[in-house]
Symmetry: C2
DNA sequence: TAGATTGTTAATCGATTAACAATC
DNA sequence: TAGATTGTTAATCGATTAACAATC
């Protein structure tokens, strides 16, 4: 099933994609707390969206609610999981076992959602052979041959910025066309490749901007 | 100077704020490479935006270019730095010294941009007293008293999700009104508080969605 | 049934783009 | 001067919201 429940062939708007994980997270909480039903108004209240936006977002994928009732939490959560592709599992490899790589490899909640790191690579001889999140760290030179023999859904780049484009090129050349990029670099890729950026510095700079925007002149200068 | 060079009193659109760090990053590269001038067309080409969008974004803050010439890289970079507030320094504290906290505390590029972690807190007795990024890890109970005595611009939350709202409340109660949140939780705050979310899982889920959207049925199921 | 709430349509709002006069 | 490119205005596009008929 290619359309993942999508109604038409149109691409799903960026904003909707950005909000889906938020819905997923909140619905997970509701289910854990034993809440059975929820209305778009309640969801909107909790998540700081309008009720109309939530209904409109969900309607990109189908009709999951019931007039006069709202949504069944368990059912909607399952639908959202399916829409996000969480009914499947994903194999990942991690390139770069520095501080950030270590944190990523140790983050358990990925695994429980079906994302599994199968191999880790680094160039640092001191790191190679160590274990990290249940994976041995392999020499970077073996990346190519590993990819020849193993199917990988997602490549995680957590290298210093000078190496990240090269790593990206190697991944793509070996058929990995989904990249989760933690290095502060605008990776150059073709249209077939999906890159999701996780830029710590960009995020911090946005925060700094908003601090100045909101509070004007600051104290600790 | 409250307006940071902004022309009118209107808020800067989200999209512009999101792109500013991208401009900053690319201009930094250009300056490092000794490039002297750049046009909006060249910037757009490199960053995958339209030239019009770049000119429109920059015009939120002033007129930095010259007809027939374009922009002087060094000058524009300085302007963007000023707009982002990078002419100032920011004091930060980190709550949570787990894997993610360690990665954040060890990330040197923040410091070089004027963001300095002044103190680290955790509840784990095994971690307390250890050094991390040049900071001793203090017991969480000291957070309140520390904030009484020290001015802090940004509070970084890298705790497990069950504690993050409580930590957030303590920070806000002590006058820290800018939060950089790494825990997978929608923090509840008042309007005066700025929260910048850094949600690893949300980012990964967006990637999963786009994989399914683009490639349809996948291999490693 | 009456009340509640959906999914969708139409209206509104805001952001992006195209076009161009101004001018270096 | 002729060519290039800005900053801005007007046109377009897309996303959000309000409203409401449908209906549980």
């Amino acid at each position: 099933m290619t359309l993942r429940g999508r109604k038409k062939g149109e691409a799903v708007p960026q904003g909707v994609v950005a909000r889906l994980p938020v819905y997923f997270r909140y619905l997970t909480d509701l289910e854990r707390d034993g809440i059975e039903r929820v209305s778009s108004a309640q969801l909107g209240e909790a998540l700081d969206f309008t009720a109309a936006q939530i209904r409109s977002d969900l309607s990109c994928f189908g009709s999951f609610g019931q007039q006069g009732y709202g949504y069944n939490v368990k059912e909607l959560l399952q639908q959202v999981q399916y829409i996000l592709g969480l009914d499947q599992t994903y194999t990942m490899i991690l390139v770069g076992a520095g501080n950030l790589g270590k944190a990523i490899a140790s983050y358990d909640s990925f695994r429980s959602k079906g994302f599994e790191i199968k191999a880790i690579f680094d160039i640092d001889p001191l790191l190679i052979g160590n274990y990290l999140g249940g994976c041995v760290i392999r020499p970077y030179e073996e990346l190519g041959s590993y990819l020849q023999e193993n199917s990988v859904d997602i490549g995680i780049i957590a290298t210093p910025k000078d190496s990240s484009q090269e790593v990206c090129d190697v991944l793509i050349a070996s058929g990995v066309n989904s990249i989760w990029n933690f290095s502060p670099v605008q990776l150059v890729v073709t249209d077939q490749v999906i890159v999701e950026h996780m830029h710590l510095t960009d995020s911090l700079l946005r925060l700094a901007f908003r601090i100045n925007e909101q509070f004007g002149t600051r104290s600790g200068v």
